[in-house]
């Protein structure tokens, strides 16, 4: 069920990416010469302790932060700043409270100059994909956390990006909603054939969703590690190999 080979677009190449922040006059280097190839259509999870720079890496990929050095190439071409081939799903749904579900999902397309009727037509498809057809006319304040996040996901998918960047998208949800949403994300990723880069602090989530897990080092100067999760989908959280992967990943962080 893996779709890595079916997709040639949405390939990301990261070369010697460096990023530091100045905090109170002191320079804090968050990313130190990070290099990585993300295959088109792959699902890659980035895990790391807080402060390891996983969110910074994602924000640089999104174009929300400028790197100090190094390059990001998408399908071979260097990119600077934001681009339409990428869409971001944030931890918070970030919905516009004055638009109904349909308006929120169509928002991305409308901003890109697609006229309202067509944007809404295309939005409806993704509202159906995330299972919210009945709630098209609901206001954001009427939605539960999980449903609001689905709207955010549909909004990002509607612009049909090659690369979906997810910054701890399920971090604020309760455990059960979270598991349901992980299953949904797997299904959506499989249907949309999109490259997915997921930042998470949830190791199980990384194993459940990703083809490969990138482990950012805890201590400065440590090396980046990559873990192949060659499990068939849908994945069984309690399967023997799943558990083995979890143990292995936990060991990376000195956890048992």
């Amino acid at each position: 069920m893996s779709s890595i080979e079916t997709r040639t677009k949405g390939e990301v190449t990261i070369r010697d990416l460096t990023k530091s922040f100045k905090i109170d006059g002191e320079t804090l280097t968050v990313l130190r010469k990070v290099s990585l190839d993300i295959r088109g259509g792959e699902s890659l999870a980035i895990v790391g302790a807080s402060g390891s720079g996983k969110t910074t890496l994602l924000r640089v990929l999104a174009g929300l932060e400028e790197p100090d050095g190094g390059d990001v190439l998408i399908d071979g071409a260097p990119v600077h700043g934001l681009g339409r081939e990428r869409a971001v799903i944030f931890q918070e749904p970030r919905l516009l409270l004055w638009l109904r579900v349909l308006g929120n999902v169509a928002f991305g397309l409308e901003v890109q100059g697609v006229d309202r009727a067509e944007a809404e037509e295309r939005a409806r498809r993704y509202i159906r994909l995330v299972g919210l057809t009945e709630f098209e006319t609901a206001w954001p304040r009427q939605l539960s956390g999980g449903m609001a996040q689905r709207v955010g996901i549909a909004r990002a998918l509607t612009v049909q990006p090659e690369i979906l960047l997810l910054d701890e998208p399920l971090g604020a949800l309760d455990a059960m909603t979270k598991m349901t949403m992980q299953e949904e994300l797997t299904r959506i990723w499989d249907e949309e054939k999109v490259t997915m880069v997921l930042v998470t602090h949830d190791l199980e989530e990384a194993i459940y969703l990703a083809d490969r897990v990138l482990v950012l080092p805890k201590e400065k100067g440590g090396s980046v590690r990559l873990l192949d999760i060659d499990l068939p989908r849908p994945r069984d959280r309690n399967g023997a190999r799943f558990v083995t992967f979890r143990k292995q990943l936990m060991a990376e962080f000195g956890l048992h």
Binding site: V88, R94, W98, G108, E110, T177
Partner: protein
């Protein structure tokens, strides 16, 4: 997955304590009307009775039927209508100008930090200076005519609108703006689609505050140097000892205030249905 639609009645805090046996619809409507307006009705009834049997001095507090009659006479003869028209004109022009000037300026100031920082101290000073205190200055500048009256109302209503608009723009969630940017929204599009709608509830707070201020300043300005207007009529009727007419004018002013607020609430409900803070 849970889904809740907040019941409108529940949200507005309507009938939180239902009667055990509501009975027919009319009866329950009467009960709810009594709960809302009972005290007001009692107040008017008390006034009427106290004045009629002279517990109150009827020369100072005439019975309400005489006030109502004075109001009827004033309106049917057209005299009060002229006063209402000129009062509405003064406050309307001033309020309209404050909106036309305050909202765009506030939107601009809220967007550009440097402008906001440079203008804020002077704004704070002007805001803290009572418009009534500077009314004599406006009279010196523009004479006792219409211009100074309209201007003092404009001055007093401008600041609540301006500050509420600036506040609304500044409080727009930066995360929403970032979200719009990730879809490639230009600065102008982000302003139009995110900043402006997000600021509307806050702007309405300023508008409703200003409407009250407009009425206050209107009355003051009309009492100081005017020969027409509802505020003038209050003062004039008192001089001429037409106390029922005086109260008629006072009630008229109260009604104008209520009407203005009501129009703004209706408008706000139309524009801000999405906001949990909409009345």
């Amino acid at each position: 997955m849970t889904y809740q639609i907040a019941d409108d009645e529940e949200r507005s805090g309507g009938r939180r304590f239902p009667w055990p046996n509501p009975g027919p619809r009319i009866l329950s409507a009467a009960r709810s009307g009594l709960a809302d307006y009972g005290l007001l009705i009692a107040f008017f009834a008390g006034w009427q009775i106290a004045s009629s049997v002279e517990w109150l001095n009827p020369a100072v507090f005439p019975p309400l039927d005489r006030v109502a009659y004075a109001l009827y006479l004033g309106i049917s003869s057209g005299a009060l209508i002229d006063d209402i028209a000129i009062s509405l004109q003064r406050s309307g022009i001033a309020f309209g100008a404050a909106i036309a000037f305050g909202i765009p300026l506030g939107l601009f100031m809220g967007q550009i930090r440097a402008v906001e920082r440079a203008l804020d101290p002077i704004l704070q000073l002007f805001r803290q200076t009572s418009a009534l205190a500077v009314y004599p200055v406006f009279i010196l500048m523009m004479g006792l005519g219409e211009a100074s009256k309209v201007f003092v109302i404009f001055w007093a209503t401008l600041f609540p609108i301006l500050l509420a608009t600036i506040g609304g723009v500044k409080e727009v969630d930066a995360k929403l703006i970032e979200m719009a940017r990730t879809f490639g929204a230009s600065r102008l599009t982000t302003f139009r689609r995110v900043v402006l709608p997000a600021s509307v509830p806050s702007i309405f707070v300023g508008l409703r505050l200003s409407a009250t201020t407009a009425l206050l300043l209107l009355i003051a300005a009309e009492m100081i140097g005017a020969n027409k207007g509802v505020g003038f009529q209050v003062m004039n009727a008192q001089y001429n000892f037409q106390i029922p007419l005086m109260f008629a004018a006072i009630f008229l002013l109260a009604f104008l205030g209520l009407a203005a607020n009501w129009v703004l609430i209706l408008l706000q409900r139309r524009l801000c249905r999405w906001s949990p803070n909409t009345p």
